[in-house]
């Protein structure tokens, strides 16, 4: 099992050499992408136990920052992505400071994050400078690797594969570190953790920063991949839900939960898209049912179910 990450990475790297289908590559790219942003949510929601219903806030900041810097200042999204991550970390520290200083927990924390994201959505809708309700089209420059634009979608595939591998490796390291243990302690019982020397405020804030930065980079990738972002795609509540869905289904607070959840939902989404092609939203309807079923039958996600059956990972 210890070699599993490298094995997966190798398999992932080989797939485009064997499979030519753009459809397969595109589907896998999105599966990796959702696993990546899910991993971002997982750090705060899964490990530290702070359920955010507004992670679109960070996603949107990432997508808007890299796109705006490119459109307005010609800055390559390779750099813009990190600017977006930095801004998202700042936003995370600010929202986190307010929420945690005032002791918001559980549903109240979920709701305040939703409200922060909504403020950004409404603001983005109303500010013409950032494209208003129409959003931002990233101007296409053909095959321009230096500008994060590619003539072949397989480049995006490899980029998100590497980003995901990095995030998975990082979370694996985090899990067995002091910070990871302290995050788990806060999730399980915050006051007991404080009594054992855990600075809950600082640990939660750190989790928020890591989570925000990762999610924002996912947002930048999305904007480059689709060359487009608008207020609802970026900051909307549906996006917040999409972000948390996969780690929850796969197993929140586990390294492989987001990837597993993303594969399950991704496979399913593609399957149903074939069945009911013309209807938008069908996949979300099914996700709703899956979410309800998971809460009842798999309260710790698929990973929790596997662990109960003795699978370690």
């Amino acid at each position: 099992m210890r070699r599993l990450p490298l094995l997966l990475l190798a398999v992932g790297a080989v797939i485009p050499l064997l499979v030519r289908s753009e459809y397969v590559i595109g589907t896998l790219t999105l599966i990796y992408f959702f696993a990546f942003v899910g991993q971002g949510w997982n750090i705060l929601g899964g490990y530290a136990g702070q359920f955010s219903f507004g992670h679109a806030l960070f996603f949107g900041i990432g997508a808007y920052t890299s796109s705006l810097l490119f459109v307005k200042a010609g800055l390559t999204p390779w750099v813009g992505m990190w600017c977006g991550a930095a801004l998202a970390v700042l936003a995370g520290l600010l929202t986190g400071h307010l929420s945690f200083r005032f002791g918001l927990r559980g549903a109240y924390f979920a709701l305040i994050m939703l409200a922060f994201a909504e403020i950004f959505r409404v603001a983005a809708t109303n500010l013409d400078w950032v494209g208003g309700s129409f959003g931002i089209l990233v101007p296409l420059r053909g095959h321009a690797p230096a500008l994060f634009q590619f003539g072949d979608k397989r480049y995006f595939y490899y980029i998100i594969l590497l980003m995901l591998a990095g995030a998975t490796y990082g979370v694996r390291r985090l899990e067995s570190s002091k910070l990871g243990y302290q995050m788990a302690a806060i999730r399980e019982n915050e006051s007991a953790a404080e009594g054992l020397g855990v600075n809950a405020y600082r640990v939660k804030l750190t989790a928020m920063a890591l989570s925000a930065g990762l999610t924002a980079r996912g947002g930048s990738f999305y904007a480059q991949y689709f060359s487009y972002v608008d207020p609802a795609i970026g900051f909307g509540p549906t996006n917040s839900i999409e972000i948390l869905l996969r780690p929850i289904i796969g197993g929140a607070g586990t390294v492989w939960g987001p990837l597993l959840g993303s594969f399950l939902l991704g496979g399913l989404g593609e399957g149903t898209r074939g069945l009911v092609k013309s209807y938008a939203g069908v996949h979300l309807m099914i996700y709703g049912v899956i979410l309800m079923a998971a809460v009842v039958f798999l309260p710790h996600g698929v990973m929790g179910w596997l662990r109960r059956r003795g699978v370690r990972g």
């Binding site: 918001l104 309807m285 979410l291």
Partner: protein, 290 residues
Amino acid sequence: MSASVVLSSLANGVMLGGLYALVALGLTLIFGVMKIINFAHGALMMWAMYASFWLAKLGGVDPYLSLAVTLPVGFAAGYAIQRAVITPVLEAPEHNQLLMTLGLALFLENLALLAFKADPRTLLVSYSQASVSLGPILLSLPRLLAFAGALAVTLLLFLFLKFTDLGKALRAAAEERDGAALVGIPVRRVYAVAFGIGTACVTAAGAMAVPFFYVSPEVGNTLVITAFVVVVLGGMGSFAGALAGGLLVGVVESLGGLFVHGSLAQIGIFALFILVLLFKPSGLLGAPSA
């Protein structure tokens, strides 16, 4: 800007606030009794709106009269949802309860999208544009009716909880679940009744909104977020708070619309929401926070 414009806007804000209060009443009732935040509340309202809309459009039934059908159906739906969806997570961690209602909301909303398509629809009834003048103030008739409906429902709920046996059982179950069960109150059935009533409230809100509010699969999404704001402002679980919070939000939105462009007034509401969550999570009218 003349004083009468401001006054009319203020008055219409109060009326709109009545609608918000009605949406929030069901939410706050369910929270007060079960400590569950029902994310599907807006989706249920959206379905109620479609029900009244189609009854009017296809059956020629006036939206207010459609309540005779939709209210019992709404109650039954709420009762069934509680039994089938909420009961299994009553003992689950809070976040799993949230996810459960979130899943339900996703399902209901996208089912509507599948059934009715995304386009917003508006119902034109003879009195959609009717207004009542009160001195210099011009009041929209449907909004006035929604406001009156909100007051009536609040009063009815209050009387129900205070004076009927079922209402008393509900309050007992809200305060002390195990204690209520010990003295023989069928807590699960009482909970289902609470969810049924909460859904009936939002059904009423749906019918009363249809004459002046667009219908779309996403409308519930917008309204439920506003309803969260209202409930938190008024104090989770408080009826009087829901009414006051609804009025406040309605007025802020209506007056804000006069001064700032587009939906920017919503930012003020969300900011207010955040401030209340931070500084007085028990709500503006709630007990002082510890």
